[in-house]
């Protein structure tokens, strides 16, 4: 077997651009996911049962179905409802955000539940509302504890975002496929694609480790 090193060098800039798109979609999706997840995570702890149930249904549906199917659902089924085609970029971000939101919601729920119940009681006994206590007392403490699982969610989303290649969105994996279709260098390209993913996930996990260590020695403030 002859290994075409030249092909790797030639394709590298294109693949790097794909990697940039992958990072972009991951950052946006986890960003929106964070927003969705925070509210849904809090909603799951609400005492108003319709709110609680809606949140549970959302989380169960997303976590109980494959992301690939969710992407197809949004890309192919949504246009039938909305009545017009939707852009692959919008579809990709929507699917990944909605997906990430469910996982982040569970992370938030766990983080909030890990805070001593006495904190909520202290806040309430001072006359603060449930919302105020959540905002000023519970969430700031929960945020610090959920940094590691949020980091893992980011890494998972970075890898899972390769699935949006199926709707033709040109992130890293799709770029690889396109180059292979042109050059037939499957082995060279896939190994390069894998390597780029690895470098990205490794870098992030080191960064999360660093944050975790920093907040462990610094748990209280």
């Amino acid at each position: 077997m002859n290994f075409d090193f030249e092909l790797i060098i030639q394709s590298f800039p294109l693949l790097l651009m794909g990697a940039g798109v992958t990072v972009q979609i991951t950052v946006l999706s986890v960003g929106f996911g964070l927003l969705i997840g925070m509210f849904v995570g809090i909603a799951r702890l609400a005492t108003i049962w319709p709110v609680k149930m809606l949140a549970a249904v959302y989380v169960d549906f997303i976590r109980g179905t494959p992301l690939l199917v969710q992407i197809f659902l949004i890309y192919f089924a949504l246009p039938l409802i909305v009545g017009q085609r939707i852009d692959p970029f919008i579809a990709a971000i929507t699917a990944c955000s909605v997906n990430s939101g469910a996982y982040v919601a569970e992370i938030f729920r766990g983080g909030i539940q890990s805070i001593d119940k006495g904190q909520m009681e202290a806040g309430r006994s001072l006359g603060m509302t449930w919302g105020q206590t959540m905002r000023y007392i519970i969430l700031p403490q929960a945020f610090k504890r959920i940094i590691p699982p949020l980091g893992n969610e980011f890494i998972a989303m970075l890898k899972d975002s390769s699935l949006v290649s199926v709707i033709g969105f040109e992130e890293l994996t799709r770029r690889g496929q396109l180059i292979i279709a042109r050059t037939y260098g499957s082995f060279e390209i896939w190994i390069t694609v894998a390597f780029i993913y690895l470098v990205m996930t490794f870098t992030i996990s080191r960064f999360v480790d660093y944050l975790e260590r920093r907040y462990k020695t610094d748990d209280k403030h």
Binding site: S125, L126, G127, I137
Partner: protein, 239 residues
């Protein structure tokens, strides 16, 4: 100041408070004693609605605990000090104390911090304003917790075993702060087994057992000449 009528509290099938009626007058210091599980904490927590009464009526400073709005109003008037302090670990001592006056009373931050500093001086911790709770001893944390409750200028203070999580040498510093408060005329309901404190500053002692008020009276009467057998049995164990 506080009037409790025919209060019942159930947790599922567990009947924790059974037809409790009590009255706490303005400036009165009431000490609540009783065996573990007798419902002392639950009673205090019902007064500021941390637990929702199953049945009965509670009126605090003329405000009946009926609507959500009233509950928050009552909580503004009633300070609570917990066994485990429950300070906010991510805030400095000063921030702990100034938070509620700013968020609930709408006080300016600078003014709230001024109030906080005055209160810290009162509990003897002026030098700890910028420390974080974890940097303080248990006794210091509890004194901060008292200052935090006082910052809301409550009309009533509830204490739930404020010294039972403390090492013996720190108990006095907390009790001293509480005595000062009592002498200044604060209305207080205190769950504690510190008999010295009860006899020195308590106006009345309530003995609870199995969710009921079994006996109440002047501290010396209850401690030295209890009428009920259950009270005697309990006191013989703790004295």
């Amino acid at each position: 100041m506080i009037s409790i009528k025919n209060l019942h509290k159930k947790f599922g099938n567990l009947h924790v408070l059974k037809d409790v009626s009590a009255h706490i007058a303005e400036q009165e210091v009431v000490v609540i004693i009783g065996p573990s599980g007798s419902g002392k904490s639950t009673l205090l927590r019902c007064i500021n609605y941390l637990e929702q009464p199953t049945e009965g009526e509670i009126v605090v400073d003329g405000i009946p605990l009926t609507s959500e709005a009233n509950i928050n109003k009552v909580r503004e008037e009633v300070g609570m000090v917990f066994q485990r302090f429950n300070l906010f670990p991510h805030m400095t001592v000063l921030q702990n104390i100034a938070l509620a006056p700013v968020k609930v009373r709408g006080m300016q931050r600078a003014e709230a911090e001024q109030v906080a500093l005055v209160l810290l001086e009162k509990v003897g911790l002026s030098d700890k304003a910028n420390a974080y709770p974890e940097q303080l001893s248990g006794g210091q944390q509890q004194r901060v917790a008292i200052a935090r409750a006082l910052a809301m200028k409550p009309k009533v203070m509830l204490f739930d075993e404020p010294t039972s999580a403390l090492d013996p040498e720190m108990i006095k510093e907390v009790l001293d702060v509480m005595k000062t408060l009592a002498n200044e005329g604060m209305t207080m309901a205190v769950v504690t087994h510190e008999m010295g404190f009860a006899r020195e500053v308590g106006d009345r002692v309530i003995f609870m057992d199995e969710g009921r008020i079994v006996e109440e009276g002047l501290p010396d009467d209850v401690f030295l000449n209890a009428k009920e057998e259950r009270t005697k049995a309990f006191l013989s164990k703790i004295l």
